[in-house]
Symmetry: C2
Subunit: 341 residues, 2 copies
């Protein structure tokens, strides 16, 4: 969102045209990932005929798609050959360990995108047009998709979050990972502290993804599954650390406070809560990515939001948690909001 | 498309995330226009409660939408009140004579947007997933929508195009306006030259829009309708000027040459042809808006494209037209390509 609040510019219809056609950009990158184009680019030689053959596509379609991706900054074109840009080499080449191309599967999933076709109605009603509780409806299969698709992107944050949450804490530890999803955050803590035992809460089908990731990371022996709703299961405990990643924003403040109270009751005295959140500034329009996330919560939940630090701090305090602090994650739109029991 | 080919930047996942969620931007602006939010902003006072009441919407929905539009640069927020930015004051306030909000109706129309949900398939096949000839299927009602919705935006170009095409030509004139749509280009010529008679070609239902605009402009007496396919109707003539606005890009080069031959046959010796086109540079990836238009033609036609000047010049010459020149329109992604019979 590079265009944010640049009111100094001369009036121009361009931004309006660009915004109303922005869906075409999403479609182009989604199509490229679906066609496995970024693998073909890496294999070379990168001319239209070769790329078309490699991807099982037409030359006309491939030429136009590749030119469009060049305009967007995902390919570099020289003498009729297409190659990576620095960003696509690192984040879209499937051979790159940092490849996040799979996020297309979640961000472009019909269940995520469809409500935006009815956004005016949603603004009228003030609540998601999705059935029931929207994206947080029990056992919603979208979270299995999330766990698979978003793992590589979330994985980029797991390292810094793990270090931040542990903050040097060694020795035996019990960690509760609520809405574990792919499980990567709890798994990172288990990797950093070989005596940490993780209990992961999520829908049963989602936890299968987390379990597979724990196995891959070699921490399966210390990884326990607690399937069900975070609002209904018995957490057990007490825990040294509770992780609440990408979860609070789905609910209204009273529901968040209810959950945080339950979390506090499962914490050891002095234990730590760490929520991973999009935290906009008090003006609610900056920074752009964190603030803009509110719209996704409008479209997909009944009462969720991207909460400011002041709002989160108030919820933490109402739930009896203290020492509330915000730690922005480097090179990420996310913030870790820590509190203590 | 501000992001075009900025390969100097450090690798970042942000552009990928931003692009895959860009459809949300289109949806937000479309919803705001549908809710008539930009009228309410002008009426004031601009706080969330008032805007929600004025637009018949919820406060939660309105707050989140207005914050998002602020992030995008369409609203300015101060002390909890929303106002126009320079661009939205001129181009989105319905009371502004330059308001182009209606383009949302065409650019966001399901018939335009839907093929982008199947873009990978379209790249595979190399041709639109729409039925038959796609957007240029006979009597396609999308062009009535186009004529209504896009008129304000096209109107911004009509003045400069009219002056350019006439180039001082006075006295009695016959003008053929092919794919007239809203009719504004031919009407502009009629306004600039009171002895010009316009013959407008388009589907019958579309020509009703053009006729209404001609009446509004007071040139109805010199405005004649020729309903049907530009490839099939008898043009009559001979004409001093033939306008071909936003039309050639829908067809493959042989079809364009066929049409240009028919145009030349209807021209007086030395008569002028003026095509309004998106004309990318020879690299086909700049300027971004003109070059990016190819993707729309891939999605919605069998063989259309945004042609380079060299390609258009070749078509003109094959059709027997000479003195081919490109005249970029100021402050627009469009170019007028002139030729002579």
């Amino acid at each position: 969102m590079n265009t944010a609040q640049d009111h100094s510019a001369a009036p121009s219809p361009e931004l309006i045209f660009e915004t109303l056609t922005a869906y075409q950009r999403s479609a182009a990158l989604r199509a490229a990932i679906e066609l496995d184009l970024f693998r073909a680019v890496g294999e070379g030689p990168g001319d239209v005929a070769s790329l078309a053959r490699q991807c099982g596509a037409s030359e006309r379609g491939m030429r136009i798609l590749c030119d469009y991706l060049t305009i967007l900054g995902f390919l570099a074109k020289q003498d009729g050959h297409y190659g990576y840009t620095p960003s696509s080499a690192v984040f879209l080449d499937p051979r790159s360990p940092a490849c996040i191309g799979s996020i297309s599967g979640f961000l472009g999933h019909p269940a995520m995108a469809e409500p935006f076709n009815r956004l005016a109605d949603i603004v009228r009603s003030g609540s998601t047009a999705l059935q029931g509780d929207g994206s947080v409806e029990p056992e919603n299969p979208i979270w299995v998709k999330f766990a698979h698709s978003m793992a590589p992107m979330m994985g980029l944050m797991a390292g810094p979050l793990g270090v931040m949450v542990l903050d040097g804490l060694g020795g035996p530890l019990r960690v509760l990972d609520i809405a574990a999803g792919h499980g990567l955050f709890g798994i990172e803590v288990a990797k950093l502290n070989p005596q940490a035992r993780i209990t992961a809460v999520d829908w049963a089908a989602v936890l299968e993804v987390a379990r597979a990731n724990a196995r891959k990371a070699g921490v399966e022996q210390r990884y326990h599954l607690l399937p069900g709703s975070a609002f209904e299961v018995q957490f057990g405990g007490p825990y040294d650390i509770v992780l609440l990643t990408n979860f609070l924003h789905h609910f209204d403040p009273p529901t968040c406070v209810e959950l945080l109270r339950k979390v506090r009751a499962a914490l050891k005295p002095g234990g730590r809560v760490a929520a991973l959140e999009f935290v906009p500034d008090e003006d609610r329009v900056s920074p752009p990515m964190a603030a803009g996330f509110s719209l996704v919560m409008l479209a997909s939940t009944r009462g969720g939001d991207a909460y400011t630090f002041r709002e989160l701090e108030k919820m933490y305090r109402e739930a009896g948690l203290g020492d509330v602090r915000a730690h922005p994650l480097p090179r990420s739109p996310h913030t870790v909001v820590m509190g203590r029991g």
